[in-house]
């Protein structure tokens, strides 16, 4: 196939047409390399801007939680901890929900029309801007969950995670709104992978007498595991970088607390809050935090891509 194409390409042509062809090809080449340039540019720019803060605090920046523009002391531990906790806990809730929904959509419990409607509903959820979700979280979700949080604190207050009196916005609300945002990602990727599992496997399992859920748990889910894992990792990357909805509902407090019922911070919400008004070495420290966020999401994304390539379905 390739050889045939080269054969055609080397045919003699008029000078002008040949030149246009070469120009067209090279323009496309330059345009496609823009992606690499931008990616490299982002990494370099953020790194060099954070250099001042990096040379001053080193890795200590990652483990101290002082953030004081007056004293000019910066450490991002609260924000990094908040980013990790909100994204991992939200993922923990999303995985069973998303995979359960995906199984519901791919099995034949209800007629195909209903399943398709539910599937596109979930995907439409992904199209709603995160700032609107944040608005909804502030005015609908927070009042709705308030009594539940008080209950949680009264009965489980002895667990450090619920040890503070709930007062308005907190990390747990951020986790819940993240679940709403991650569900479509996990569900649609899990559904696509489950659909790709060959029918033969299912028929073979049914043939030797496995029940429906035995088949799902022992044959279909293991076959789709790598794809689902990749989807989960993509969702993790999204959760780490998610800014607006989290910023609006997490309460934005740099005071470190183990409790999920107290206001918290994530790296992205710190950036959204402070970047506009920062000056001096605070800007550099914010760039340092941005750099940490970028590395975290890059690692997760690259790992997800590697996983897809390494373990993609081979049937």
């Amino acid at each position: 196939m390739e050889e045939k194409l080269t054969l055609f390409k080397n045919r003699k042509r008029f000078g002008i047409e040949k030149n246009i062809d070469i120009i067209f090809k090279n323009t496309a080449l330059v345009l496609s390399s823009f992606v690499a340039i931008i990616l490299l540019g982002i990494i370099l720019v953020v790194f060099f801007q954070s250099f001042e803060s990096f040379s001053r605090y080193g890795l200590k920046f990652l483990v101290t939680s002082e953030w004081n523009p007056v004293k000019d002391e910066y450490g991002a531990f609260t924000a990094i901890y908040g980013t990790l906790v909100t994204s991992f806990l939200s993922l923990l809730i999303t995985i069973p929900l998303g995979v359960g929904t995906a199984i519901f959509i791919t099995e034949d419990f209800v007629p195909k029309v209903f399943r398709e409607i539910i599937g596109s509903f979930v995907e439409l959820l992904a199209a709603i801007p995160s700032v609107v979700l944040g608005l909804w979280a502030i005015f609908v979700m927070e009042p709705f969950f308030r009594t539940f949080f008080v209950f949680l604190h009264n009965f489980f207050g002895w667990i450090p995670l619920f040890s503070t009196e709930p007062t308005g916005r907190n990390s747990l609300l951020a986790i819940l709104i993240l679940v709403v945002m991650l569900l479509p990602i996990v569900t649609s990727i899990a559904r696509d992978t489950l659909n790709q599992v060959p029918k033969k496997l299912r028929n073979a399992a049914y043939g030797i007498g496995a029940s429906r859920w035995k088949t799902i748990f022992s044959v279909i889910l293991p076959a789709a595991l790598s794809g689902i894992m990749a989807g989960v990792l993509l969702a993790l990357g999204r959760a780490m970088g998610e800014t607006m909805a989290v910023t609006m509902i997490i309460g934005n407090s740099n005071a470190f607390s183990w409790s999920l019922l107290s206001p918290g911070y994530t790296i992205s919400s710190m950036l959204a809050n402070q970047f506009g008004e920062a000056d001096g070495s605070q800007v550099s420290s914010l760039f340092y935090a941005a750099f940490v966020l970028m590395i975290l999401s890059l690692v997760v994304n690259i790992f997800a891509q590697w996983l897809v390539k390494k373990f993609s379905l081979k049937y």
Binding site: R13, F24, F34, A127, V132, G237, T243, F275
Partner: protein, 297 residues
């Protein structure tokens, strides 16, 4: 009882019932937020819609009586997304053409495809930070700092991976016979691409691009410190170089205001934003389904 009949009490059948209901519950929980959200926005936001909303400037918070309208933000969103599209579509389509038509599976295209996926995973706020460092703080655009132009550039970074991917995948679906036929009658590569392959992939590329634009229109994080926000009408071309409002940033700013009038404006803006994004999504979905059907025939 005949063991060949279905037995309800068998532990495997009970387990099956249990897990089936569990997955039904999962699906219900998954669609509940969307139903709540959409109905709430439609009711709460829809009730705020008045003709003045589209023509007035928003009033600065503090005056609780009248919040004004969202005209500058509406126009701002249109302008900023247009700027982003003007940058991202040519670059993305051109890049996609190179990946799909010239360098099909070479090392370079593998590297670029990897880069596209990585760029798609870069948090949107990082795009804002990048443009802030590159353009806003350096005042490289004729001495202007925060500007609609900078905001459009930040959004274009987010759109670029989507556009490249849809172009690449749309072109890959074009059957090779079309290319051979065109090259065979003596057309050059660029004529083949522009006259044969691109037109036949046009609909799938356009769908992907439109979805990308719809997503960009709702993005807030890259705009809050590149385009910032403005309360004033956009009157001329020179306004591109000043702070520019957008629906998304208006929602963010006014949701956090303690005044009821501003909050209502935020709901109205969400109504318009969500309605337009959802209708674009539904429309392109129907179009895609329609295309698939006609292709099969």
């Amino acid at each position: 009882m005949n063991p060949l009949y279905y037995q309800k009490r068998l532990s495997r059948n009970i387990g099956d019932k249990f897990f089936t209901s569990l997955s039904v519950i999962c699906a219900l929980i998954a669609i509940l937020p969307l139903i709540f959200l959409v109905t709430y926005i439609l009711i709460k936001g829809g009730s705020q819609i008045t003709p003045e909303l589209f023509t007035l400037e928003p009033n600065p918070p503090g005056d609780d009586l009248d919040a004004g309208g969202i005209n500058p933000a509406l126009i701002g969103t249109l302008i900023i997304t247009t700027i982003a599209s003007i940058i991202a579509i040519p670059v993305g389509v051109g890049g996609g053409i190179y990946l799909a038509e010239y360098s099909k599976s070479g090392a370079f295209s593998r590297f670029i495809r990897f880069g596209v996926n990585v760029l798609a995973g870069v948090p949107s706020i990082i795009a804002g930070v990048f443009i802030y460092a590159l353009i806003v703080s350096t005042k490289i655009l004729f001495g202007s700092m925060y500007s609609g132009l900078a905001g459009g550039m930040a959004l274009s970074i987010l759109m670029l991976p989507t556009v490249i991917k849809t172009t690449d995948e749309g072109l890959k679906l074009v059957p090779n016979e079309l290319r051979y036929a065109s090259l065979g009658v003596g057309a050059s590569m660029y004529t083949t691409i522009l006259k044969v392959t691109l037109p036949s992939a046009f609909r799938s590329i356009a769908t992907g691009v439109v979805l990308g634009i719809a997503r960009a229109a709702g993005e807030t994080a890259p705009l809050i410190f590149t385009a910032l926000f403005s309360y004033y009408y956009i009157v001329g071309i020179e306004d591109l170089f000043y702070e520019m409002g957008s629906l998304a940033v208006l929602i963010y700013n006014f949701a956090l205001e303690p005044y009821d009038a501003q909050n209502k404006l935020a709901w109205a803006a969400s109504f318009i934003l969500v309605l337009s994004i959802l209708s674009v999504n539904i429309f392109s979905r129907i179009l895609a389904a329609f295309t698939e059907k006609t292709k099969r025939v």
